[in-house]
Amino acid sequence: MVEFRKVSKKYANGTLALNKIDLHINKGEFAFVVGPSGSGKSTLVKLVLKEENPTEGEVYVNGYDISSLKRREVPYLRRSIGIVFQDFRLLPNKTVYENVEFAMQITESLPKEIRRQVPMSLGLVGLSKKADAYPNQLSGGEQQRVALARALVNNPSLLIADEPTGNLDPETSWEIMKLMTEINYRGTTVIVATHEKSIVNSMKKRVIAIDKGQIIRDEEKGQYENEVKNSQIYS
């Protein structure tokens, strides 16, 4: 589903954001990518979306070879991925319904499908009643749920969330995480980049910890920090 082979990313200013990373995420997995700011986890997400190209190594996402993907093919890669951002990124001049509909318009879906899928997706995130509202009339949690509905409406096989709860209060954060778990149960691969310690610790999912551009830990049912290492750092 997602595979990194000896991937390095060096930015033009000389920063080595990722250093020879190997990573494999299988279909149907739920994985957290954790690490402090500047650790390289955002770069990892950018490489999956081909917002950036790897300096070295190979990245495969949903069968697309990222490094050799042509510019005009990038939209098709992104359509196969549902994306959720920290700052929601909803279209401000479109209603909730239109925001979700937009994702289906770009794939030139049939009107019949749009009329079925959009309300279904909004129902899944519990926002059927807000379909005609504009994003600025919604709370942060509601906006993020719209973003989730939009990410899911085309039934992508992969969902990537970059700090999805970064702008939300703890309670709302939990709602979003619950939704993501549910989506994962339905068979979608979910990758969440976060530094929300409490959530990671209680979810007991796969944790990939990155620091200084390298994977320092990759555990099934992992914790945000390794207990032993934690005590070393703070003692």
Partner: protein
């Protein structure tokens, strides 16, 4: 692209224009104002060209007979003019026609001539056009010494001066129109650039959801066309008002100037400003959006 997608894109263009009403309105005002300046100047130039053309095509000389000549003597002069190969055409102006012409030239002041009908105050004259303006001096020499001819009004200097002036006016106005065109295009393109810039985040979001460049670009182009066209129509409306008002005043007060009727210039004018509006709107959107698409 599927037909329903094309429909969606056009609808998007209209809806976005409406939902960004403040920005759209600002752009329409700028487009309208630039095209108004352009259009007003266009109308002025069309009239200047029209008037100078009348000037240069006016008879090259006019032969005035003595007012006392009888019809036989006038026929002799006419025969002389007719038989001269260098003269391509001539018109005889009778005493009555001369009076009418004088009245016309005086316009509102024509009442001073009332009561002079049927009297020999104005002479018979011949308006002459030559094949070759180079012969004018010889023809004048020949005709002016003929018995019964009072004088020949002829001014090579004036003709030369006017045609020189006309050339300068045409060249100057052509350059001014071109400059105004460039200025209008720059202003309109810049305004559209601002509109696009204020929505660069939107473009960015669309890219991340997986919209193709054309899917993002086309609604913006539709918007550009709407803004350009509405701006052009508004400016045309204002030009129409101004032109009707101003041309009416000129016709009534400046008798020696001829003013084109509105409908004689409107078809060209509306076509060119709409074309400028639409083209610059569409191109402006296309160019401005380009760098925001590289995500």
């Amino acid at each position: 692209m599927k037909l329903r997608t094309a429909k969606y894109i056009v609808k998007e263009g209209f809806v976005n224009t409406y939902r960004n009403i403040l920005m759209s309105f600002a752009s329409i005002v700028v487009v309208g104002a630039s095209l108004l300046v352009f259009g007003v100047f266009w109308a002025i130039m069309a009239n200047i060209n029209y008037n100078t053309r009348i000037f240069t095509e006016q008879p090259e000389m006019e032969v005035f007979c003595n007012p006392e000549l009888d019809d036989a003597q006038i026929t002799t002069i006419e025969w002389l003019i007719m038989s001269d190969d260098r003269i391509s055409e001539y018109t005889i102006i009778s005493k009555e026609e001369a009076l009418e012409r004088a009245k016309e030239m005086l316009g509102d002041d024509k009442s001073v001539l009332e009561g002079f009908e049927g009297e020999d105050i104005l002479p018979v004259s011949f308006i002459i056009k030559l094949d070759n303006p180079g012969n004018s001096k010889d023809v004048v020499d020949k005709l002016s010494v003929f018995p019964g001819v009072d004088n020949v009004r002829y001014s090579q200097e004036t003709i030369d001066l006017i045609s020189k002036l006309v050339r300068w006016i045409r060249a100057g106005s052509g350059m001014l129109i071109l400059m105004l065109l460039v200025i209008s295009i720059v202003i309109i393109a810049n305004t559209i650039k601002l509109t696009v810039f204020s929505r660069r985040k939107e473009i960015n979001i669309m890219k991340f959801i997986g919209a193709t460049d054309w899917f993002i670009r086309l609604p913006f182009i539709v918007e550009g066309v709407i803004i350009g066209l509405v701006g052009a129509l508004i400016s045309f409306g204002v030009i129409n008002l101004i032109y009707t008002e101003v041309s009416g005043r000129i016709i009534n007060s400046v008798y020696f100037l001829k003013v084109l009727e509105g409908k004689e210039i409107y078809s060209d004018l509306i076509l060119s400003i709409s074309l400028i509006g639409v083209l610059v709107g569409a191109l402006g959107s296309t160019v401005s959006i380009r760098k925001h698409l590289r995500v």
